[in-house]
Symmetry: C2
Subunit: 241 residues, 2 copies
């Protein structure tokens, strides 16, 4: 099969596109940096955003290992926030300020291509989130940013965090499809590898500035993914949407 | 508090509107009748639609009593379909035809006021389904009908069928709200009573033709509901949206 017909075969068979959100659809680093610069201008906003995000994988790992019971991302984000605030000279923040700051994850802004790209992709495919974020967070984010999801799927629905197979296979089950008719779209190779191991199709999205301009990410193509796209508009081009 | 300020208090405090779907948002009777008249013109389509729907509550009751393990509505609809087909002279339908016919529940048409009404309500409130239908069914229905949900919540998420409290309280929990900031919108008094018992606000929607023109429903107001609306446009008027 040549490259063109491989594309066509993917475009013809895939029914559902499931999107990772943090980093892939929304710019967590830039959004947190902007809020911190506005409300806490003395803090190193770049280091703060990265420290908060760095606690994310270990927190989910604690839950998935059973060391901590099932906990939603809102609560994990809050645990990490409480841990890092003293390091950034913000130990004095009161409960109300912490609640508000923690909600920044509901207020993340999309990358500039996302609303237009998703709107095109939605015409031809069912588009859903498949995020470790909780349903409330993802719904608030979508409403604020105008992300036109057909459906909000989350670790909260499957009670498991990616890359647990229950999440990827859960999307296929919800739509009664074989895994190869579902494609995971993500900016993270470990997430894509988890999906691929379950038989899903995969599309890598370049987000070189996910960690900020000072920490550019290697976004060169890696073997294994069905598609490699610059952004969601490029993905729509490739998928004929 | 007079009637006006009671309305204003509801409009100010309610954040999330959760909608029953079958009968409230989509016309299951009319949609099934139209498909049957087209594909099986000799069948009494009205009686067929009502017989299929009549199996619905008993099927969910079997699941909730534990007599049958957790089963999605798609599979319950199929069980009922297989039971009633012989009664309507359709025992000869093959597997492919049964699968297609069962999917009619994914293809139900909205009442004429719904897309415009939901679009208005969405500007001011978070609008979600709270249906016993499964997520895939509700997503396909919304995509086909253009229902602009912010979120798809279903018995499938809570692994319980309405009127189990886990469903109503589940919506409040997903959005981290006290129950009185969530309103159930439904055309069925038993559903609204279940929500009210959990502390949710309730809005009754008149759907006099839910069971077809030959079986008009009593839609006169009953005490207990916060709002009583003719349709979703009337609800939007009452809620200031």
């Amino acid at each position: 099969m040549n490259a063109d017909s491989a594309f066509q075969e993917i475009a013809r068979t895939v029914q559902v596109l499931a999107f990772d959100t943090f980093g892939t659809v929304v710019d967590w680093h830039g959004s947190i940096v902007r809020e911190m610069q506005q409300h806490h201008p003395r803090v190193d906003a770049d280091a703060f955003a990265r420290a908060w995000r760095a606690g994310y994988q270990p927190a989910m790992a604690r839950v998935m290992s059973g060391a901590q019971g099932w906990t939603l991302i809102d609560a994990l984000h809050r645990q990490i926030l409480d841990e890092i605030l003293p390091r950034f000279g913000l130990a004095h923040l009161g409960e109300e300020e912490r609640v508000h700051l923690n909600r920044v994850w509901h207020r993340l802004s999309p990358w500039p291509d996302c609303v237009a790209g998703l709107t095109r992709l939605k015409r031809r495919y069912t588009i859903t989130t498949l995020s470790n974020g909780n349903i409330g967070l993802l719904t608030h984010m979508a409403k604020r940013a105008g992300l036109p999801w057909d459906c909000i799927l989350s670790a909260e629905v499957f009670r498991a965090y990616k890359p647990d197979p229950a999440t990827y296979l859960g999307v296929a089950r919800v739509f009664e499809l074989p895994p190869q008719q579902v494609m995971l779209v993500a900016a993270h190779h470990d997430d894509l590898a988890g999906a691929r191991a379950c038989g899903l199709r995969t599309a890598y999205i370049e987000r070189p500035l996910e960690f900020g301009a000072g920490h550019a990410k290697d976004v060169s193509p890696r073997p294994g993914n069905d598609l490699h796209a610059r952004d969601l508009l490029d993905l729509a081009d490739q998928l004929g949407a």
